[in-house]
């Protein structure tokens, strides 16, 4: 941008207050705060605003700073400047009437009770009045009133200076008076207040002259500062310009509405599964051992079912909603295989323990419920289920976490369609370009498979596990078609997508961190 254009931009954005200040400063002999306040014709608050703006635009600069004791009138002081101070007011009444009853003075309604008693006390101790019989005051020595007259002079002097002046403007004797009557940290008392104020002096920068000349040569056009409904209605905007804003000033900050980045990631996963024809399933956070493990053919003596693996609910409540016939069929599958063609685990099944409540330890429990409730055939289901494990919480273990898993059932389900679906997941969900299937072990599936994929950013990673539900699982739940069970571990992908390395940050309570991660991503094309 050329200097000339830059200059006109700067001038166009000047606020009327700034222009007024500029014009004053052009000829001002002394450029410091008190002088500007006293002579620019601007109010104190306007001065400080306009000065700050011109400083920001580098039209003026601070040349010196000095601390000055400033005297100002308090609310009481301002009152006394118009009505005179209470002692003087009483004394003048006494002078006018010769003598006045103290009771009368006490009944005056132009001052507070406290002011009256203090004024009467001050009159007495000043020696200016004497008490005559009948409880009346008369002036006995008018010269003793002079301290109160001097006080009033100081008040009036300060009032002429708009209630604010440097302490040094006053004579030594006046300063002593101010010292006597200034407020000492008590908000209601005192006539004067003395504050240390920084007095800044300014100098003109190289920019001042050109800016001033441009402003001075401007035609006088009234600019509008705001567009209001009234101006629109009466049309008074016509022929007038609007004051230009400095649109480069930083705006006030706001958060604005936003979805949580991890939830948004899971939303994308949900959408992906729906697009592949999957329906969502839901299940409770608190689950019975039946749905969480027994229905999945995990024997009750399985090592992953102990108190150091699963959270049990306090006071051992039991789920009474599981159909007894279903418990019996599952019990038979465990004990001797029942009708599943299996020899079973060969141990006595505990039908009471099976109803005990635990915190859901695996999302597969949701699948078990859906199988037991009679799923659609063919059917494809998924769930994103919060699960709980007895793990030490650290950078790789959150106190609770989401598992993405589901089932696929139908007549045409077999090992090769299982591999086909997993290949689809690998491409659709993980954008994998390579995939590898390994034998795996899960108590509820056979054959079981572990899927490793090559992710474009992460390299080879384990994406999930899957298998065909064992007949000991499907049979007792009343399902007579083959069923694929699958589960995906997506947290690592989520963490990479969000740029975090501690899994606990997926559930961060730090709004600052969450805001950092609220960016919108567009799929690479």
């Amino acid at each position: 941008m050329s200097e000339e254009i830059e200059l006109s931009h700067l001038v166009e954005a000047l606020h009327p207050l700034e222009k007024q200040l500029l014009k004053f400063l052009a000829d001002a002999p002394v450029m410091d705060d008190p002088n500007i306040v006293a002579h620019s014709g601007l109010k104190t608050t306007q001065v400080s605003t306009a000065v700050e703006w011109l400083l920001a635009k580098k039209v003026i600069a601070v040349s010196a700073e000095e601390e000055t004791a400033m005297v100002r009138l308090t609310e009481i002081g301002k009152k006394y400047s118009s009505t005179k101070n209470p002692v003087l007011r009483m004394a003048e009444e006494i002078l006018e009437r010769g003598e006045v009853a103290i009771r009368e003075l006490q009944q005056r309604n132009d001052m507070e009770a406290e002011e009256k008693s203090r004024a009467i006390g001050a009159l007495k101790s000043s020696g200016a009045v004497s008490v005559i019989p009948g409880g009346r005051f008369k002036i006995s020595d008018e010269s003793k009133l002079s301290p109160f007259r001097d006080l009033q002079n100081v008040i009036d002097l300060l009032n002429e200076k708009e209630g604010l002046a440097p302490l040094s403007d006053f004579s030594n004797s006046d300063q002593a008076i101010i010292e006597t009557y200034h407020r000492k940290r008590s908000p209601s008392k005192g006539i004067f207040r003395v504050d240390l104020e920084v007095k800044r002096s300014y100098e003109k920068t190289a920019l001042f002259r050109p800016v001033y000349e441009k402003v001075a040569s401007e035609k006088v056009v009234t600019t509008l500062s705001e567009l209001t409904p009234e101006i629109l209605k009466d049309g008074s905007w016509k022929g007038k310009a609007f004051r230009k804003y400095n649109i480069q000033l930083p705006p006030p900050r706001m958060g604005g509405g936003a979805l949580h980045p991890y939830k948004a990631f899971l939303d994308q996963v949900k959408t992906k599964f729906i697009s592949m024809g999957f329906s969502e399933m839901r299940g409770p956070l608190v689950e019975s051992e039946f749905w969480d493990m027994d229905a999945l053919f995990m024997p009750q003596f399985h090592p992953a079912r102990e108190i150091h693996d699963v959270y049990f609910v306090k006071n051992k409540p039991h789920d009474n909603s599981i159909p007894k016939a279903m418990i019996d069929r599952v019990a038979a599958a465990h004990e001797n295989g029942g009708e599943s063609g299996s020899r079973g685990w060969r141990y006595p099944f505990d039908s009471d323990r099976t109803r005990r409540l635990i915190l859901r330890s695996q999302g597969t429990s949701v699948s078990a419920r859906v199988l037991g409730e009679g799923p659609a055939n063919p059917g494809k289901y998924f769930s994103i289920a919060r699960c709980f494990r007895y793990d030490q919480v650290d950078a790789t273990h959150a106190p609770d976490f989401f598992q993405v898993e589901g089932i696929v059932l139908g007549e045409d389900i077999h090992f090769r369609t299982l591999l086909g679906l997993l290949t689809l997941f690998a491409k659709e969900v993980a954008k994998a370009d390579k995939i590898k299937f390994l034998p795996a072990y899960f108590p509820f599936t056979e054959p079981s498979v572990e899927m490793h994929v090559r992710h474009p950013q992460l390299g080879w990673m384990e994406l999930g596990g899957a298998g065909l539900f064992r007949p000991e699982v499907t049979g007792p739940l009343g399902v007579d078609v083959p069923v694929i069970a699958w589960g995906l571990g997506l947290d690592r992908m989520a963490m990479i997508a969000l740029g975090i390395s501690d899994i606990r940050d997926l559930f961060s309570a730090d709004l600052g961190l969450i805001r950092e991660k609220q960016c919108i991503r567009r799929a690479e094309r």
Binding site: M254, G255, G257, A258, L259, H260, K263, D267, K270, F273, I274, M276, F278, S279, P284, L285, V286, H302, H308, Y311, F312, V313, K314, N315, K316, P317, N320, S321, G337, R343, A376, P378, G379, V393, A398, D400, V408, E411, D412, H414, F415, R416, T417, L419, G420, L421, F437, P439, A440, Y441, E446, P447, V449, R470, F507, A509, D510, L511, G512, R515
Partner: protein, 550 residues
């Protein structure tokens, strides 16, 4: 899942071929194992075995046995499984042990010199079988003894722990059995198998194995005859793989068992599983022939008799995992290799959909963001400090839904010992952590909560709730009410606020949100004491809605 430590050189001698990491990993895929730590410089490798149903694979001998293509039927390799010769050694199992630890199985190993590394491996197998398979010795424990110190027959019987005394390994003085299980490290480990018993089962006449011994007596005791027998079978096969001659031991049970009163171990407990070719092909989606199936399964170490399409399969006695024909199908697939199967997609069509409640909840989330709220996601587990004390709730007051808290019987730490019963504590936790994030704060979470519901068959309920909170220097009821009103106008729903009281909120600035006479939520200004508890320095107002009830 057990992790074992092996030396590569030991592995190579068992496999009779040279190994590198890649080759090792290829082998391990076939046994569902993975390398956890490969340290060739110390000749040591850690391997995790994932199949909890195949304890025979938890040793280098077992892995080598499985991945080496079987050249002859297992009975030829391990002839001791045949109950042919009358064993010389006998063990008598008394009637009395049946109340404490009823079963024992044993074998004798000869002509294999126990070197220091072999002893380490034997001890590792002994421990993995006892810990992972035998549930910390509760169901199975294994003892190894020097054969020459034992005089047969041996008697397995109960003794009085106070009166029986001997000098235990590594100690100088004689101790009673009671003292041993309280003081001796091995005794302490064994003690949990004896909880409550006032008499202990022991084998009289024993002495622990040392390096240099060539003749061993191995016994397994436990509470389940099949598990005890499987353990001795695995141990015997492992010793045989290292060149030992295994001799069976004859057991005399005072009580009837599933295998009779007199039988010898190792004992073939395998049971045939019958699979038809069409079943195999249906499960795999393949067109395999009988010959292909038989060859693959045989090379995987299984015995097969065929009768037309019908295959009768027997696993070696060190395996006891063929529960169903489907298990044979997986063995075939592993033997042939998973990568030999062509993936195909199912041909049937299904329609995908979200659950109705999740759709609604998602719609609410979008309305909330449109009103300027930022979403948070919180953990569901928390502490009673967060969910009760910091909320100023009276836990005894069960009239409020949020005090019907599901507690964990066995928490790992107090910090995570309860399930949240409403969303607000999660939001206050965010507020208490986020004073450095610029204001105003408008945050929300739509998520699951759980509560006790003793009146229902399920005993608990899981619901979705929407909690929202505003915090900034001028945050107040009126601003939040306007936002709630905007939310309801999007729902096209009428609602009213019924003044009420709640310990977490300022009295006179709290109410229930009511729709059609039903309470669906609450709204109010959080009371300063609660803000203090959470160290929140801004005025805060919040509402919470039960999504299912809207």
């Amino acid at each position: 899942m057990p992790t074992i430590e092996v030396t590569l050189s030991d592995f190579e001698s068992l496999l009779k071929e040279k190994l590198d990491q890649g080759k090792l990993e290829d082998f391990l895929e076939k046994v569902k194992g993975e390398v956890k730590d490969f340290m060739p410089e110390t000749d040591s490798t850690k391997i995790e075995l994932n199949d909890t149903n195949r304890p025979d694979l938890w040793s280098p001998e077992g892995i080598a046995r499985q991945v080496r293509p079987a050249e002859k039927p297992w009975l030829e390799t391990y002839p001791f499984f045949e109950q042919k010769l009358k064993p010389a050694a006998q063990v008598h199992i008394s009637n009395a042990v049946s109340a404490v630890r009823p079963y024992l199985a044993a074998c004798i190993s000869r002509n294999m010199s126990v070197t220091e590394p072999i002893l380490e491996q034997l001890i590792q197998v002994q421990e993995k079988l006892a810990d992972s398979f035998g549930r910390n010795r509760q169901m199975v424990s294994i003892g190894l003894y020097r054969l020459k110190k034992i005089n047969f027959p041996v008697y397995y019987d109960l003794v009085d722990p106070e009166r029986t005394a001997f000098v235990p390994l590594g100690f100088e003085t004689s101790m009673t059995l009671r003292e041993i299980i309280e003081k001796h490290p091995k005794g302490i480990a064994y003690a949990n198998t004896l909880a409550g018993a006032d008499q202990f089962p022991i084998l009289k006449d024993a002495g622990e194995v040392e390096a240099g011994d060539a003749e061993l007596f191995v016994e397994v005791t436990g509470t389940d005859l099949r598990m005890v027998t499987l353990a001795i079978n695995i141990f015997a096969a492992n010793l045989a793989d290292r060149g030992a001659d295994i001799e069976a031991v004859e057991l005399h049970y005072a009580q009837e068992t599933d295998f009779g009163t007199v039988f010898q171990t190792p004992y073939d407990l395998s049971e045939p599983v019958t699979l038809t070719l069409s079943e195999l092909n249906r499960v795999l989606g393949e067109t395999v022939t009988v010959d292909e199936a038989v060859n693959s399964l045989k090379s995987y170490g299984l015995d097969i008799d065929t009768e037309g399409e019908k295959m009768t399969v027997r696993a070696a006695p060190y395996r006891d995992d063929l529960m169903h024909p489907i298990d044979v199908v997986e063995d075939f697939a592993i033997s042939r290799g998973y990568d030999s199967f062509d993936p195909v997609l199912p041909s049937t069509f299904t329609v995908g959909a979200l659950s109705e409640i999740e759709q609604f909840s998602d719609a609410l989330r979008h309305v909330m963001t449109s009103l300027g709220f930022e979403e948070v996601v919180s953990n569901i587990l928390g502490s009673s400090e967060d969910f009760i004390e910091k909320m100023a709730l009276n836990p005894e007051d069960k009239t409020r839904p949020e005090t019907r808290i599901v507690e964990i019987e066995n928490p790992m730490t107090e910090r995570f010992s309860l399930l949240r019963s409403w969303i607000l504590p999660s939001l206050l936790r965010v507020e208490g952590t986020s004073s450095k994030a610029f204001y105003p704060h408008r945050i929300f979470e739509a998520g699951e909560v759980a509560r006790l519901a003793p009146e229902t068959p399920d005993q608990t309920e899981t619901t979705i709730q929407l909690g929202a909170l505003i915090a900034h220097p001028a945050a107040n009821f009126s601003e939040l009410h306007a936002l709630l009103d905007a939310l309801f106008s999007r729902l096209k729903g009428a609602y009213q606020l019924d003044p009420a009281t709640h310990p977490s909120f300022i009295p006179g600035r709290f109410g229930h949100i009511v729709v059609d006479g039903r309470e669906v939520g609450l709204i109010g200004e959080i009371q300063p004491a609660v803000l203090d508890f959470w160290q929140i320095g801004m005025p805060t107002a919040a509402f919470e809605l039960m999504v299912e009830k809207l």
